[in-house]
Symmetry: C2
Subunit: 301 residues, 2 copies
Amino acid sequence: MSQRIAFLGLGLMGVPMAENLIAAGQDVTVWNRTASKTDALVALGAQAEPTAAGAVANADVVIVMLENGPVVEGVLFDSGASDAISSGAIVIDMSSIPPGMAKDHAARLARTGVGHIDAPVSGGTIGAAEGTLAIMAGGEAATFEKIAGVFAPLGRATHVGPSGTGQLTKLANQVICGGYLAAVAEGLVLATAGGADPTKVREALMGGFADSKVLRLHGERMVQRDFMPGGKCQIFLKDLNTVLDSAGAMSLDLPTATLIRDLYSETCDLGAGETDQAGVLLAVEARNPDARLGDGPDRRP
Amino acid sequence: MSQRIAFLGLGLMGVPMAENLIAAGQDVTVWNRTASKTDALVALGAQAEPTAAGAVANADVVIVMLENGPVVEGVLFDSGASDAISSGAIVIDMSSIPPGMAKDHAARLARTGVGHIDAPVSGGTIGAAEGTLAIMAGGEAATFEKIAGVFAPLGRATHVGPSGTGQLTKLANQVICGGYLAAVAEGLVLATAGGADPTKVREALMGGFADSKVLRLHGERMVQRDFMPGGKCQIFLKDLNTVLDSAGAMSLDLPTATLIRDLYSETCDLGAGETDQAGVLLAVEARNPDARLGDGPDRRP
């Protein structure tokens, strides 16, 4: 069953996601703060609206894909868009925002009969373009069932629990990826310091238990010293601080998460906040100045 | 070109590796401390010798797959086997031993014209059985080239650098796997503490950047609370202590590796040294007693 979809936020992730919904035959109305971003999608069959309130007015489903929690709050609530959403409609917030804020949004929308699913993603712009995002969905199971067809062209959605747990699972994802990144950086530094060729080390480890997307993608960036983003360290540090805020609110002691946050903080303190997440290598190397991977220059923003 | 291979050490890894060499048509002579382990391989076409010195006497290539450094030292040198190896032969030590010891073994064998490659593996008994081990090889490039055909039935061998760097790369592998394991444990605890279903969280993360063999295999063991080994925490802790010894000898500061060692030390202090490496979850849970994954009982040795 085709649903009328409003799509708010056409950034690096939003554009390919909206394209995939249009290609799947969905009825999509787009809005973006910079209106010119809507032109290419209109050419593919979308409608465009100049205001978020206008875009959501006739929607069955409102997808939000914005930069962070305050931006979502501004576009969805402060602008008045939330008042324009029909009772019975469902908001899917695919932005990455703090779990507590997602729960608050769900509660506020519920007062006017609007459903809410927090559904952040992992997989980056490649996953968005290929429609293979890992989608972590929190909210009521019945609400999740109603929008399964909307998720299908975007990737693989999993309902993980009640409101806010989609965002919390995204934070778990960040902890896990951060642990992978720091461990790959330290492993490569260890082997290189003892005379191994870091490019060969990464190759040797692929296929064993150390294999991962992070070893393949970010490990290659490390050994090539290519720190062009990708996901930037300073954004990742913000996520890791949100992890520790959320963990602290639950009185959790997560030593690995804490250390990873500190390593990304060190990376940003080195002036490398704009580099790719693989830039955590720079913090490990700063602690070990005799163990640099490779002789070439760094490629960085 | 078929080479006469002596294979020393028929444990959980050695047996399937020797089987794969025999199946590939190699001329294999086996030796094991407990001689009865050789019977099944003789039935497949191997020859058996009652002493290590006897096994290596006519070999072009001697493969060693023993428990640890001291055992390798005992079998290869203290028993006198090294004196029986022909000049021009090559010892491939696929055991996991300290990098410094591997370099020492290479130097001692070189005095009698015997080559040495340190070539530890990752991939476990499954990789050994399937012939898909990740093999990390250190030593002279010309020596490595001569034995490429021996490695082929066992897995994918990569020459990473001079003598000892194969072992160092295995240690890098352990650092990386340990980082993955600790991060997966903390991520699952974080999401579960906030009300998410840990089984669903793991499913949701697969396919995203957090995907890895560790998330798939050890993550499943964590959410099912199945801590039957697999690789035991106490063996892994020994490896991580070797990591820190080797790092210390090079004056390296590796904070993630240090923390992971501490977490595995905590796991063993909880009496869980015999559990699978996934048992690091028990240390994270011990720090966070209100955040247990799942209600079921632990399955453990």
